[in-house]
């Protein structure tokens, strides 16, 4: 027997207010996916490193943010401190574990980041406990905003705005500034950039720190939506990888578009037939890869 809501939830019978709310839900979810995928994509696109520990960087961001938020009472302080701590963690990981194996088999990188993920998660459990902890919504955002036709939680609007600002800022930094030019140059031809007297090692360290910092911000922003618990990173990293693959490995534009697309896809599938809402992204990924194996914006060959 089909539950009533599945029939009642068909788009044809949905009220305008409800439809707009669901569209906004898709954007909010999409923005979260974009934020997680963006850090992954920067690190992969510019350094060729698939960072399996990215979810755990995010997890550290969530717990750091919770600690700062609890201590200071200021969520904005948490939003600043969390990415800094995670950037330092990321930089340390790059400097001391990844750097020595850049020229070795890529399998080593996968094993390394996978192992780091386990270690970081265990450490998080040792420090902050094995069971989940509530992450309160900052009081200034713990209300719904009235848009006439519908009301919407203020905190989700805040997440959409902050997410958009960060993605835009990093994108502009990478494409429009001198440092961004060097970073992209170092990726394209490491030896040539080195020969020009630019320290490529420092550049890679910077890229990894930026990618990690974005994970830290994402972790802090996600806290009030999902609460803090040890498998948060694992839960989020799989859809984020799907976003990166659909967007095209290494393409920043692709990650942004694919993230928003998947957010809407999951929410709208939920509206029509909710048991499918988690599976749909894998179906969609399979279809995209069949039609366009390199993803939406992927380059033909990824070096």
């Amino acid at each position: 027997m089909i539950p009533l809501s599945m029939v009642g939830g068909l788009p044809l019978q949905i009220s305008t207010g409800n439809l707009l709310t669901q569209l906004l839900n898709g954007i909010a979810l999409g923005m979260i996916l974009v934020l997680i995928a963006f850090g992954l994509s920067i690190i992969f696109g510019l350094m060729g490193v698939v960072n399996f520990a990215h979810g755990e960087f995010l997890l550290v961001g969530t717990y750091m943010a919770l600690t700062v938020f609890t201590m200071t009472g200021s969520f904005l302080a948490a939003l600043v401190v969390a990415p800094i701590v995670v950037a330092v963690l990321g930089a340390a990981v790059e400097r001391f574990t990844l750097r020595p194996i850049y020229d070795r088999d890529i399998l080593l990188q996968l094993l390394l980041t996978f192992g780091l993920a386990e270690i970081i998660r265990e450490l998080v459990m040792v420090i902050w406990g094995r069971t989940g902890t509530a992450f309160p919504t900052p009081s200034w955002a713990a209300r719904t905003l009235d848009f006439g036709l519908f009301t919407y939680p203020m905190y989700r609007i805040f997440v959409i705005i902050v997410g958009a600002v960060i993605v835009a800022a990093v994108y502009i930094f990478l494409t429009r500034t001198d440092t961004g030019l060097i970073i992209r140059g170092a990726t394209a031809d490491r030896e040539m950039v080195n020969a020009l007297g630019i320290d490529v090692e420092k550049t890679f360290l910077l890229v990894f720190a930026i990618g990690s910092a974005i994970a830290g911000i994402a972790g802090a922003l996600i806290g009030p939506l999902r609460s803090a618990y040890p498998t948060l990173g694992v839960d989020l990293i799989i859809p984020a990888f799907v976003v990166v693959v659909i967007g095209g490995l290494g393409s920043l534009r692709g990650s942004i578009l694919a993230g928003l697309l998947i957010g809407e896809l999951m929410v709208m599938t939920g509206v029509v037939y909710s048991p499918m809402s988690n599976v749909i992204i894998f179906v969609f990924m399979a279809l995209v890869l069949l039609v366009r194996p390199r993803g939406l914006f992927g380059r033909e060959v990824v070096e």
Binding site: S5, N18, G132, A134, P224, L225, S227, D235, P275, N278
Partner: protein, 442 residues
């Protein structure tokens, strides 16, 4: 040590082996250490032989309990609490001679909360010589291990709310010490009667227990108490983003929004429902929130007057004397409070061990006859709870709870959170009749 005595003994033997091999490596010329090492190694392998002989034999002088529990995955935090409960049951059974003078051993295996993985874990335990099986968390796992236990001829003590376990899929060797989805359906009647309102929207996880629970509420308990279920939505297990289902529930405008969801899913679902302001127009309730869920749901939501964490199959502050005694012993030993199903696994395991003591073997048919109609020991509910003969479900009473007045963060950290509002004195009155269960055992 959170894992209790079983873990302890394991560590002990690992240490002695290590000592043995080190002395071997350091100098074979030292005759004394060589002899020591040889005796350690010999002793270990001999112990191994004895284990193998005892396993599956049943009539021997030792009993091995195989305990499949979720030690990782979404229910890992429950799993740790259950491990303690089963270890404590074994300790107390040894002290009080539940199974006569037999040695009692327990081995744990990780189900990861997943039915396929759970069946593999149970299979490993059986291969390692388990005589009986005791433990699980989810209904889906209980169903999958139950099938295996029946086929391999072992008694299996489990929990699980799905009506199928003690209904359409009931099995002669499977005994359920938890409450069923029907027994759990006490929250909505209480709320409809005490807080008023008529329309109910149910969000439920898309798996065995929650489906059973949703259907029983929709077709029986809600209409029987003057309410109407105006909508339901299945939400996949492991859903992170609840904005879509929560928006759907809000759109229904129902007086009650009810979550048939557990674990981290419930935490996220309720948090996001509050984010969308559902508590402003509706009463938000859950079917069953365990103490670890409560901590993650947080004090703001817990102490909201429009939130009810639902029914719990047991609460550690319950006034029954045996419950007080069990809670005190558990807290002394593990420095944390026992969860509801820890009471089930504790009483279920001890009752099973006493049955073995009485029939003098682990023969599944003898044990089945002994357990049918047997009162649980100890009586942690204090309502004369027993395994019903017709479906092997215990007649335990689900307690309807709400957050304590003036709940503090310290209360939450200590698991000291609930006031018991009500519970049925005659638990059989809220169970299906034997005919209604549809259980047919040979």
């Amino acid at each position: 040590m959170p894992d209790g005595n079983n873990h302890g003994t394991n560590n002990g033997s690992a240490d002695s082996t290590r000592k043995g091999t080190t002395s071997l490596r350091e100098g074979v010329t030292d005759r004394r250490s060589l002899l020591q090492a040889a005796s350690v190694v010999g002793g270990l392998s001999l112990a191994g032989c004895i284990n193998n002989l005892g396993g599956g034999g049943g009539g021997g002088n030792s009993i091995k309990i195989g305990s499949p529990l979720p030690r990782s995955g979404p229910f890992a935090s429950y799993g740790r609490n259950f491990v303690n409960a089963i270890n404590l049951a074994v300790t107390h059974a040894r002290e009080e001679g539940d199974a006569g003078d037999r040695e009692i051993e327990v081995e744990f295996a990780d189900t990861e909360g997943d039915p396929d993985r759970g069946r593999q874990a149970a299979q490993e335990l059986i291969n390692n010589g388990a005589d009986v099986l005791s433990g699980n968390y989810s209904s889906a796992v209980a169903l999958s291990i139950g099938e295996l236990a029946q086929r391999r001829g072992l008694i299996y003590q489990c929990v699980g709310g799905s009506n199928a376990i003690t209904g359409s899929d009931c099995r002669p060797y499977v005994f359920n010490t938890g409450n069923s989805a029907v027994q759990q359906s006490v929250t909505m009647p209480y709320l409809l009667n005490e807080r008023g309102g008529e329309s109910v929207f149910i969000l439920y996880s898309d798996y065995a227990w929650a489906q059973s629970y949703m259907q029983w509420n929709r077709d029986n308990t809600v209409p029987n108490n003057g309410g109407e279920v105006v909508g339901t939505q299945a939400v996949p297990l492991g859903t992170n983003d609840w904005s879509q289902p929560v928006t759907n529930a809000r759109e229904s405008g129902a007086d009650h929004i009810h979550f048939a969801v557990t674990g981290t899913d419930l935490v996220r679902g309720v948090n996001q429902a509050f984010e969308f302001g559902l508590q402003e127009e509706s009463i938000v309730s859950a079917a069953a929130a365990t103490l670890s869920d409560v901590k993650a749901i947080g004090i703001d939501i817990m102490s909201n007057e429009n939130f009810y964490p639902g029914g719990t199959s047991w609460y550690w502050e319950h006034s029954a004397p045996a419950a007080q005694e069990f809670s005190a012993a558990y807290r002394d030993e593990y420095d944390t409070v026992p969860l509801n199903f820890s009471a089930s696994h504790y009483a279920g395991t001890r009752t099973l061990l006493r049955a073995i003591g009485e029939v003098g073997s682990t023969d599944p048919d003898d044990l089945r006859s002994e357990l049918e109609g047997k009162e649980l020991y100890p009586q942690l509910w204090g309502v004369g709870e027993k395994y019903r003969e017709c479906d092997h479900r215990t007649s335990i009473a689900t307690m309807i709870v709400q957050a304590k007045q003036g709940l503090s963060q310290q209360n939450i950290d200590n698991g000291d959170v609930y006031t018991i509002l009500d519970y049925p004195e005659d638990p059989e009155s809220v169970m299906r009749t034997c005919e209604e269960t549809g259980c047919q055992m040979d």
